[in-house]
């Protein structure tokens, strides 16, 4: 079935196929007339069978047969025997059709439908499947159907697991069999079936099994695919965890009412400018969750229970599932010093996308200090041009580095309970790392390098709360650099992965990059992608200039950002800026010297995680009064992106799109804008 070269049709084949088409046309005409006139006589039904035998793809004919069966079952004189014979007839037609085309969706579906009517022996199905799966062991239709049959028969997962094992032993290049194995194991884990209670018992055996395939033939992809699933099972904890938060546990937050920073006395406090007297609380989970609300997360500020606090998911899609959740807490200006306690998950309801409950209730507490407004200086700040120039970083860079690292560490939530239970995860990863180092000593293998890089990354990430250093980051970087050279077609993917490691490492090494508790410079690092957001929640001023970013996905998590430079990157469209819409505090943005407008087709739309999740424009018509302004209609993307911004200052020069006309549109969209490309606006 696989790997057979296609042959060009011979003249006689073409003649045969046109003869077949001729015959088919006649049959089809006849069939449609029966169908439209709802004729379900024996002859009519037989005709449809004939048609399906030639062309199993004829959906209408399958549906017609369903109607015919229903028609028959509703006849007053039908009895169990005749019903059985009708249904057996259907099964026979399906079997013939499958012989014609083993991969006919319609035929497989019809078979399921017939079986759902009951009356037929399901044992037969397993025998039939054994025959079909012997003929084409990788056919996913057959495997799909097998799962259906196994479920209807209540066949045990263990038996099916044995079957996949036999199939894999016959030929391990079988995605379907490996996939079925992962499905069965997941089900057994979920059920906590006998012998499958503990992943640490089962997974090492599975690793052992897959190693046989990978080492025997590293070029075969099906094994790697299963290995990736195992790695995911090893790394991902079942129940979601809180990875970090802002403010961190035990930290101090200084709220100042304007842009004049004079809080050196408060170091190592996190100082935040808040005009409205409210500040965000950000919760960063290790996997997307739903159900974060005022009952699952309670926030107590002094004696106030903020029961009406609104938690919003931060994700590119509009789904109610996200890794990052944010709520804005308003502190009454009368309390200059107050303690906030956030408890997460004491009430059930936070659930991961895989359906696991958040089960490690945790508590954060931090202090909030409010500095009274100094109204007179607010005027100055507006007029003054604030930019991400060297001087500014220097200004903010006076803090001693130790204190920065201390406060930085407070972001990490320590989940003692989970870590003691996950020693086996460490061991499994360590073993895998050793194993793949060995493989790479034998063969030069791209997927092997990638897997080793993934393993090392996972190991570092898991050990992070204990070790302050990412011990493997140099090796991982080297692996990705290697891969970028070896495999040019996936260059960008490796570069993106490498960027994230680079970021982790960069922040990890105590460097001058952190210029203060609020500023971070990550310029000139050849980053092509941003990551490690869970460790960057505290950043208010971020310099990402002179990198190779094409996307800033995930940046929405950095809720405190007020000043962002994306100067000299490779952003290709306005829609790439979508994460910024969620940054309510962003005031200063530099997107100059990018490639916005270079490409008439916005490819970011096609690379987003799911085309269905792409939300551009979906809310546009709902809550916006349709404007009659032609300029706005022609620039609806700009309108969509920028309309919610509260920018004071924007640099967009050096992009193809940024002509005078466009700039005038921007000014219209953002009436609050004070400065565009360094020019003060009226």
């Amino acid at each position: 079935m696989h790997g057979r070269p296609r042959k060009a049709p011979k003249p006689e084949d073409e003649a045969a196929s046109s003869a077949k088409a001729q015959k088919l046309r006649a049959l089809q005409t006849q069939f449609f007339s029966f169908h439209h006139n709802k004729i379900y006589t024996k002859e009519a039904v037989e005709l449809s069978a004939k048609l399906l035998e030639i062309n199993p793809e004829s959906y209408t004919a399958w549906n017609y047969r369903k109607l015919a069966v229903e028609h028959y079952l509703n006849l007053p004189d039908c009895n169990p025997d005749s019903i059985k014979s009708v249904l057996d007839d259907e099964l026979r037609v399906v079997e013939n059709a499958l012989r014609q085309n083993f991969k006919s969706y319609g035929a497989w579906h019809h078979r399921k439908w017939v079986l759902s009517k009951g009356h037929s022996s399901i044992d037969n199905e397993l025998r039939l499947l054994d025959k079909f799966q012997k003929a084409d062991s990788r056919n996913f239709h057959a495997w799909n159907y097998r799962r259906f049959v196994a479920e209807s028969m209540k066949r045990s997962e263990q038996d099916e697991l044995k079957y996949t094992e036999d199939m894999i032993y016959a030929n391990f290049s079988n995605y379907s069999a490996w996939h079925n194995r992962s499905v069965l194991l997941s089900a057994l884990f979920d059920k906590k079936a006998e012998g499958f209670l503990l992943k640490e018992k089962v997974l090492p055996e599975e690793y052992e099994f897959i190693h046989q395939a990978i080492f025997t033939d590293p070029d075969d992809q099906s094994g790697w695919f299963y290995h990736l699933w195992l790695l995911d099972q090893t790394v991902t904890t079942d129940s979601p965890l809180l990875a970090s938060s802002w403010p961190g546990h035990g930290s101090d937050v200084l709220l100042v009412g304007d842009r004049c920073y004079n809080g050196s006395a408060f170091s190592p406090f996190s100082a935040l400018h808040s005009d409205s007297g409210s500040f965000p609380i950000v919760l960063y989970f290790n996997q997307p969750v739903r159900g974060v609300n005022s009952s699952t997360v309670t926030v107590e500020c002094g004696f106030n229970k903020n029961e009406d606090l609104l938690w919003k998911p931060l994700s590119a899609s509009n789904s109610q599932t996200a890794r990052v959740w944010v709520a804005h807490l308003k502190v009454s200006s009368s309390d200059l010093h107050s303690t906030v306690e956030v408890s997460v998950g004491h009430t059930k309801g936070i659930i991961s996308t895989r359906g696991f409950e958040y089960s490690h209730p945790s508590m954060l507490s931090f202090k909030v200090h409010v500095q009274p407004m100094e109204r007179d200086s607010s005027q100055v700040s507006v007029a003054e041009s604030i930019s991400l120039r060297e001087e500014n970083f220097k200004v903010y860079g006076k803090q001693s580095e130790e204190s920065i690292i201390d406060s930085f560490d407070q972001l990490i939530i320590k989940n003692g309970h989970e870590t003691t239970a996950s020693n086996w995860r460490f061991e499994a990863l360590a073993k895998e790392i050793e194993c793949f180092r060995e493989l790479l000593s034998l063969v030069d293998c791209k997927i092997g390098k990638l897997t080793l890089a993934r393993l090392l990354k996972a190991y570092d990430a898991m050990s992070y709360p204990f070790a302050n250093k990412l011990v493997h980051s140099e090796e991982v970087l080297e692996l990705y650099s290697d891969l970028m050279k070896l495999d040019r077609t996936h260059y960008q993917f490796y570069k993106d992965e490498r960027s994230i490691v680079l970021l982790q490492k960069y922040k990890d090494s105590v460097s001058s990059a952190i210029c203060g508790p609020i500023c971070l410079r990550l310029n000139n690092l050849s980053l092509s992608r941003m990551g490690a957001f869970e460790k960057l929640l505290w950043v208010q001023m971020l310099d990402l200039s002179h990198n190779e970013l094409q996307s800033i996905e995930g940046l929405e998590a950095m809720q405190l950002l007020s000043c962002l430079s994306l100067r000299n990157n490779k952003l290709r469209s306005l829609t790439a800026l979508e994460p910024l819409r969620k940054l309510k505090l962003l005031r200063i943005l530099d997107i100059s010297y990018n490639q916005i407008g270079d490409h008439s087709i916005d490819t970011t739309r096609y690379v987003c995680s799911s085309p269905l999740s792409h939300s551009v424009g979906s809310e546009l018509n709902r809550d916006e009064t349709v404007t009659s302004d032609v300029a706005l209609i022609n620039n609806w993307e700009a309108f969509y992106i920028f309309k919610d911004f509260n920018l004071n200052q924007l640099d967009i020069v050096g992009n193809t799109i940024a002509d005078e006309k466009f700039k005038s549109v921007l000014v219209k969209i953002m009436p609050k804008l004070k400065q565009l490309d360094g020019k003060l606006l009226d």
Binding site: Y169, A170, N171, F172, H211, Q212, A213, F215, T216, D217, P218, C435, E438, L439, L442, V443
Partner: protein
């Protein structure tokens, strides 16, 4: 064969070709010559087909072996005063088997003698893609036979363990005894060979490597000793220790090694219902000779069994071959003659041959420069491996004892191939050797590793080991010396019910004054024998094609050649 039945006269009395003996090479030549429209008379003194390639009932095997073990009786009084113009050269049988030991530990086996079909030339299998299968398919001879798959190959050690041979991708994956690194190296080696055979440019094996010893190439590939041994002896089926050039008489070149791997690789999965690389015919290997005889008969070859031939008729003046005199006294003439290796020609006592013949006779002696092969047949009631009944075991050189210089092969065949009583198993063992003692030692080493030899026949052994008749044969000192290791723990070894041990001369085919076919060789399959057979045919009929491509309707009847499971 003392009471010779009355022989019917043969008519006609002149043929293009007379073939004496129905061994496989003779049968193939008879079939090929008949196909080439030659008139052929095919004679065999035995009452069965197959000669040295036959499968015999239990009771008949010892008598067949011993009848070919004695030196030729002095020719009867010459009837040289023949009135004809011919000289008579008497035929005598050559001793081809020696050191025959038959041991019976289960007295009632003889009652079921006919339920057994024991191969004289075992162990032997057909590779699914070898020349014998090609020949069977090409000639349609496969329609007279049925095969079953030999399911696996193992490598044995001196502890009685049988390690499965990772001979395919799936087998490497499944193998529990190989480490991950070994798996990777072995699979990469297979891929290299496959790539080389497929003519991929970037994986070509250099000409220099191809001409070098295979074992050096395997070393160069960094294969660990265990895998090297698997490849050399259990896949490439090398006979001699490849790593000891002192004793190795047949050092495999990389080129030949690769060819062997290619054959093995092409054999696996060739037929849908054959799981392994080998096939074995139902009713035993003797079926092959018989099938070719049927093929010949269909094309008009005349068959007469139980017909001894007493003398060769040669022209008195020229010394040229004219015909043969049968035991019935009838003289039959032909242009060509093919002789079974059993026969040799002796001069009548006191007569001097015609001058021209004198010159030719020195060449007419069978060459046996290839030494001997020790063979053993054992019958047991339990399989050597519990879950599998038909399989091959290879004991690489030095795997059983340090002085073992040749591979020993063992083939277990179960009753589902109709070779023995239901529930029993026949083990065929063979090894190349220089002399009978060395051969016995090799066969005993395997038997002692794998089988329990009943001790109650000790007294018999003492009495009967002198006479080489039915009785015990397993010398006590040998059994003690090699089974003394700490190996007798674990599972019960199968008990020996019956065994036959013998040495066989290795004679080559010959195409001199008279063409003579070879004895069964020491190989596992028939490839070399078919090559020799083809050469002999070409020699006698240089103008004729060896089984020309016919318009047989079923040249691709895979289903027929493959076993029924």
């Amino acid at each position: 064969m003392d009471d010779i039945p009355p022989y019917p006269p043969i008519d006609p009395t002149t043929f293009d070709l007379i073939v004496i003996g129905t061994g496989l090479p003779e049968s193939i030549i008879a079939a090929a010559a008949s196909t080439a429209s030659k008139s052929v008379l095919h004679l065999d003194p035995n009452p069965f087909y197959g000669s040295h390639f036959s499968s015999l009932p239990l009771a008949d095997l010892p008598s067949f072996l011993s009848s070919h073990s004695t030196s030729p009786s002095p020719p009867r009084s010459p009837s040289s005063d023949d009135p004809n113009e011919f000289s008579l050269l008497e035929f005598a049988t050559r001793p081809l088997y020696s050191s025959i030991d038959i041991s019976t530990f289960s007295p009632n086996l003889d009652q079921h003698s006919r339920k057994f079909n024991l191969d004289v030339a075992g162990p032997r299998v057909l590779f699914c893609a070898d020349k014998s299968i090609e020949l069977l398919l090409r000639t349609g001879t496969n329609q007279y036979m049925e095969f079953k798959s030999v399911d696996a190959t193992f490598v044995g050690d001196n502890k009685g363990n049988l390690w499965s041979v990772p001979d395919s991708r799936a087998a490497i994956f499944k193998d529990k005894s190989l480490g991950l690194v070994e798996k990777n190296k072995l699979m990469r080696f297979f891929k290299l060979v496959q790539g080389h055979l497929a003519g991929e440019q970037d994986v070509k094996i250099s000409e220099e490597d191809l001409q070098s010893p295979f074992v050096d190439f395997l070393n160069k590939m960094g294969l660990p000793p265990k895998i090297k041994s698997f490849i050399l002896y259990a896949i490439a089926m090398a006979d001699y220790d490849q790593e000891d050039t002192g004793v190795c008489r047949d050092l495999l070149k990389t080129k030949d090694g690769i060819d062997q791997l290619a054959l093995y690789n092409a054999s696996i999965g060739r037929f849908q219902n054959a799981s392994g690389a080998f096939l074995y015919p139902i009713y035993g290997q003797g079926e092959l000779s018989q099938a070719f005889c049927r093929r010949a008969a269909v094309k008009g070859c005349l068959y007469v069994l139980r017909m001894p031939v007493t003398a060769l008729l040669v022209d008195k003046d020229t010394g040229c071959y004219k015909g043969v005199r049968l035991a019935s006294g009838q003289d039959i003439f032909s242009q060509k003659l093919i002789l079974d290796p059993t026969f040799k020609v002796t001069l009548p006592l006191g007569s001097s041959p015609p001058l021209p013949l004198k010159e030719k006779l020195p060449f007419f002696s069978l060459k046996d420069d290839k030494g001997k092969i020790a063979r053993g047949i054992c019958i047991t009631k339990t399989s050597l491996k519990p879950d599998i009944s038909n399989f091959l075991v290879v004991y690489p050189p030095r795997s059983l004892f340090p002085e073992q210089v040749t591979s020993i092969r063992l083939l277990q065949i179960a009753s589902n191939l109709a070779v023995c009583l239901p529930g029993m198993f026949v083990l065929y063992i063979s090894a190349l050797c220089n002399d009978d003692d060395q051969g016995k030692k090799l066969i005993h080493a395997v038997m002692n590793t794998l089988l329990t030899v009943p001790l109650d026949s000790e007294s018999n052994a003492a009495v009967q080991s002198e006479t080489a008749e039915i009785g015990s044969a397993v010398q006590d000192e040998t059994s003690e010396s090699s089974s003394g290791g700490p190996s007798d723990s674990g599972e019960e070894k199968p008990t020996l019910l019956w065994s036959a041990l013998y040495s066989q001369e290795l004679t080559l085919g010959q195409v001199d004054f008279i063409c003579s076919t070879p004895m069964p060789d020491g190989k596992l399959n028939y490839n070399d024998l078919i090559d020799t057979t083809f050469k002999i045919f070409q020699e006698i009929y240089p103008e004729e094609e060896f089984f020309p491509e016919t318009s047989l309707e079923n040249p691709e009847v895979d289903g027929d050649a493959s076993p029924e499971t």
